[in-house]
Symmetry: none
Amino acid sequence: MSDVRGALSPRKSPVQARSTATIEALHVAAIQVLTKEGLARCTTTRVAHRAGMSVGSLYQYYPNRDALLAAVLEQHLDTVASAVSRCCREQHDKPVSDMASALVSTFLAAKLGNPAESKALYAVAGERGGAALVARVHTRMVEAIATMIATASDAHFVSPTDTAAISLNAVVGPVRALLEGHAPPEFEACLEVQLVRLLTAYLQSHCTPSKTGPTNTRGGRNPALERA
Amino acid sequence: MSDVRGALSPRKSPVQARSTATIEALHVAAIQVLTKEGLARCTTTRVAHRAGMSVGSLYQYYPNRDALLAAVLEQHLDTVASAVSRCCREQHDKPVSDMASALVSTFLAAKLGNPAESKALYAVAGERGGAALVARVHTRMVEAIATMIATASDAHFVSPTDTAAISLNAVVGPVRALLEGHAPPEFEACLEVQLVRLLTAYLQSHCTPSKTGPTNTRGGRNPALERA
Amino acid sequence: MSDVRGALSPRKSPVQARSTATIEALHVAAIQVLTKEGLARCTTTRVAHRAGMSVGSLYQYYPNRDALLAAVLEQHLDTVASAVSRCCREQHDKPVSDMASALVSTFLAAKLGNPAESKALYAVAGERGGAALVARVHTRMVEAIATMIATASDAHFVSPTDTAAISLNAVVGPVRALLEGHAPPEFEACLEVQLVRLLTAYLQSHCTPSKTGPTNTRGGRNPALERA
Amino acid sequence: MSDVRGALSPRKSPVQARSTATIEALHVAAIQVLTKEGLARCTTTRVAHRAGMSVGSLYQYYPNRDALLAAVLEQHLDTVASAVSRCCREQHDKPVSDMASALVSTFLAAKLGNPAESKALYAVAGERGGAALVARVHTRMVEAIATMIATASDAHFVSPTDTAAISLNAVVGPVRALLEGHAPPEFEACLEVQLVRLLTAYLQSHCTPSKTGPTNTRGGRNPALERA
DNA sequence: CATGAATGAGTCTTCATTCAT
DNA sequence: GATGAATGAAGACTCATTCAT
């Protein structure tokens, strides 16, 4: 990623307030253009003009179009990842059901807070540089989740990282389907409840029988799965 | 979707062997170019040349670039959807755990059989016409899954369609993450087992206690969820 | 024109009935396509298909697109020129007013009988080869008119050819304006009457005073003009 | 026409001197290419290059090829129409013979001043947008002429607009024939004199007999025509 | 520093023409 | 003879990027 950063990050460090404001304006403009025109028609000129400046100025802040888009994507992903990480830290040592609902509501809040933005950036994420960016952020979120679930009061995970990765992406899938219009709008109504149920059930399938009493038969319903 | 089809479907019906071969060559070439160059560089000229013909010939079969990409995407999605539908039909009246594993293995086989193709087409699915295509196919798969789970021998679903939509996308999420490189390659190793566990747990959270005997405490672990 | 003919005329002499019918079908189709699609979209493939044959067959009869269009134009122009020539022959030795009305009504009948055809062919006439074709036919009509007016019973023309050329084009102008939509449709209602008046007045301005009696003061209203 | 203008007018208002010069260069270049290559080969690239710039620059001033051609045509037509309008205003209240000669000489001066330009633009006038443009300008000229002849000191017109339309197009016809090469070059020598005679005779055929004395039998030579 | 005009390579798409079947 | 698939040159138009002002 380091070489990518070298090529794609802003030319200037945003030490000055003006730079920060300008960059922010560019990001907002980029998302608007992305939303209204689509990735292919999201041109540097259009973004600059919507941000109230000339193309030349845009190039003062980003070496090229890809760098701008990467920065916008990165900012979005960072926001999401930070929210998730913070949430995970707060749920340490809690039972998995708490973790599940906290994680789902945090993620949904972050992604559905600005659906247009989230949706628009999926296209950017699909381009050459985007996958690496997403991978990096996913790894970060997976680590946060893995660390969290490893502390669960009522479950034990043989491979927390794998479980975390599945958990994250099992939530990401339906959310993405909703944002990209692969599911009907009504789907949104039941989304949170169902995702919590999904995640809770998945995590609870790792519950330690001993912790809930000898007569309980829940944990390891399918012992074979425990190997994974 | 009908108007989209009108604009995007092949110009000639592939009744002749030659046409079929040519169209197949174009599809293969499109996927190769998509994989090696990315959506933005997947130009009609490049696809035609890789398919061993000139641009003009490509336009004899497709009215424009989008139509070609849509056709490739549609073919892929149809294959997947058909496999899923067939699988669902075969699992009617079985317990949810059977359904879960059948669904997961069928979906994985369809998607990971040709990972390059699957991956390449995600970008296409993000474009204007793609979302509608995906939505249509998703609906089809969701219906197949909903119909299947409604017959489950050991569970009752208040809203089979919603449960099916969540189930499908919860599986799609991790698979897509793997294909798009958002997860490490090692992830693949545990994918199937974990997805089966995820889906089984989710579906079993809807289990009817009465069906498995009075002493069983498994079903409806979290009764509150049963409302959804 | 001879070299043009060599390059643009049909490959086969239309001795066979089939050829004649085919060529006629092509001409009709060409005019239809010209009318509905415009010159730029009047392609060989489209014309052939509308004529119920394949492109290859079209090329059996015409060496290239320009030859086809030239032939269609030529046929149209020939029809008009023939009508005009015949009309002129019939008006020999009559007074100019008879000549004027006969000429106008013949020309209008020929041009406005199929307005779509006439209009469509103006575009063809504007292309490279068209001007020469038109010039040739104009010359023919001018000669016919000149020959006719030279026999007028009540006028004498110093330069019959020039007068004929002016006469022809003075009629062509308003007709073309109507066909090309440069004038409102209502214009058509008064067209014939006004053109007859125009032409009559023009030709009568050459009237020989002696021929109509000594007291008549009409002829040579403006004697200065008689020089031309 | 308004929607056409919206689509075909220049992108930038030529407020800056540079813009004006650039636009002028494009117009000149367009006419040159049109003249030397014909409408079909008058491509944006060729025009731009002849104007000493790249295609991209051309598109900075015109949204598409048609807009450029329309602008060139419009400029030409406006020049002609303005000259005609001014001329008409100056001939109010004069006898028709004065009006005829002024109109003819003004029109000839405007059209034959730059024959290449006039000729080249006939092709443009034939294209989709061109006809509307020409119609608009023709209407303007017809109105100016109608207003003028209505004030004639020695004639009365029942329908000045119709007479004006015929007058204009009767002059346009021969001029166009000359420019498009439908008439021999020698034709030009007698053109003005003959057109003046043509127009004078036509307009004088509407002369009020009373104005020129009771014994005069000229006016309304053919009383039937007076109805029109 | 900001501006935005200029550049020209690169896209999509069309079409006249040929030629194997 | 007829057919229509294949060709590829050419045209319209876009856009990332630069640089003179």
